[in-house]
């Protein structure tokens, strides 16, 4: 299936949503955030994108951008990138796609950990690389990177019974 056919199918299925095609080297589709779970289910069931290769985020000046890289193992479709823009930088929220691809579980936790984007409907949305209590989200542009002494960090670490 070609990229154009993928785009056409999505446009037919969700005509009222603002689905954009970004020009550039990659084939990228920009979705509104309300559509993400339905669109992903369509992509998986009808268009064969059965493998979520990567889920990450970008901190843009005006929005958080969540990026999904999709591949198809069952049918030789070219890879596809999905993007969702979250304009509310104070409280970024997005529906979880763990119901579509199980593999999104850990990747959404990582994005939550490092960017602070809340994935609603995630079965266990906890920090994965850092610990609960870490001050801030380090991959945000407004996070100021500096050296923390262990004494300073110890206050935020979990109690000994939970390590």
């Amino acid at each position: 299936m070609s990229h154009q056919a993928t785009l056409d199918t999505l446009l037919t299925r969700f005509p009222e949503a603002g689905i954009e095609r970004q020009e550039g080297l990659d084939f990228t589709i920009v979705l509104p955030s309300s559509l993400i779970v339905d669109a992903c289910r369509t992509l998986r069931d009808d268009l064969g994108f059965d493998f979520l290769s990567n889920l990450t985020a970008v901190d843009r000046p005006d929005a958080f951008e969540v990026v999904y890289h999709l591949y198809s193992l069952s049918n030789p479709a070219p890879p596809l990138a999905l993007k969702v823009r979250l304009a509310d930088k104070a409280d970024p929220r997005l529906a979880s796609v763990t119901s579509v691809w199980e593999g999104a579980n850990l990747q959404e936790r990582e994005v939550y950990d490092l960017f602070g984007i809340v994935f609603e409907g995630h079965p266990k949305l906890e920090r994965i690389l850092l610990w609960e209590g870490f001050p801030g989200h380090p991959l945000r542009k407004d996070f100021i990177n500096r050296i923390y002494s262990f004494e300073e960090m110890r206050a935020t670490l979990p109690p000994e019974t939970e390590r």
Partner: protein, 181 residues
């Protein structure tokens, strides 16, 4: 390294030992025997933190083989280990576990800070990394390098053996009662 401490008293005074036993008796000091045994059976804890751990593994493998120094078994329990090789970047998340392992090791115990990250935090001026192992536990040997080659690690072992050889049972802290000077 020759065992000078043992061999220098090979001549046994005749007044102490009967003649027929003289070829079988050996006189030396308690410290010499004690330190000789400790140096030749110093078991490191199986503990790797980052890329330096790979050089540590290489130092234990066939080409360099630190088993030659009596460190045959990288032991998997801190209770039976004498040496903690802190091999790699210490993150804040790992730091409590490092302290815990160190506290579980029985005295006498030694530690080597292997690599730039454990010596000073290295290149990571970061929110995630502890700036040097000395912030957490006492360090006996600092071994710089990024990562240090196996030869360097073995040099650190020999330096540690020298250090251990100079300790005396009379003055070490771990045989003293609490409060004793």
């Amino acid at each position: 390294m020759p065992e000078r401490e043992i061999h220098h008293t090979l001549t046994v005074p005749e007044t102490l030992v009967p003649e027929d036993l003289q070829r079988n008796a050996l006189l030396t000091s308690v410290d010499s025997v004690y330190n000789w045994a400790r140096r030749r059976s110093m078991w490191p804890l199986t503990f790797g933190l980052a890329c330096c751990a790979l050089e540590m593994i290489a130092a234990g493998a066939a080409r360099y083989d630190y088993g030659r120094l009596g460190m045959d078994i990288p032991f998997s329990s801190p209770r039976q280990s004498d040496l903690l090789i802190i091999s790699g970047t210490i993150t804040h998340k790992m730091a409590p576990q490092l302290i815990r392992l160190w506290n579980q090791m029985p005295e006498p115990k030694y530690s080597i800070a292997m690599g730039a990250c454990t010596v000073s935090g290295g290149t990571f001026d970061s929110y995630a990394v502890v700036q040097g192992a000395a912030e957490l536990i006492p360090v006996d040997i600092y071994l710089p390098g990024c990562p240090p080659r196996p030869e360097a690690l073995i040099y650190a072992f020999t330096k540690l053996h020298e250090m251990v050889g100079q300790q005396s049972v009379k003055t070490v802290s771990w045989y003293r009662k609490e409060g004793e000077a």
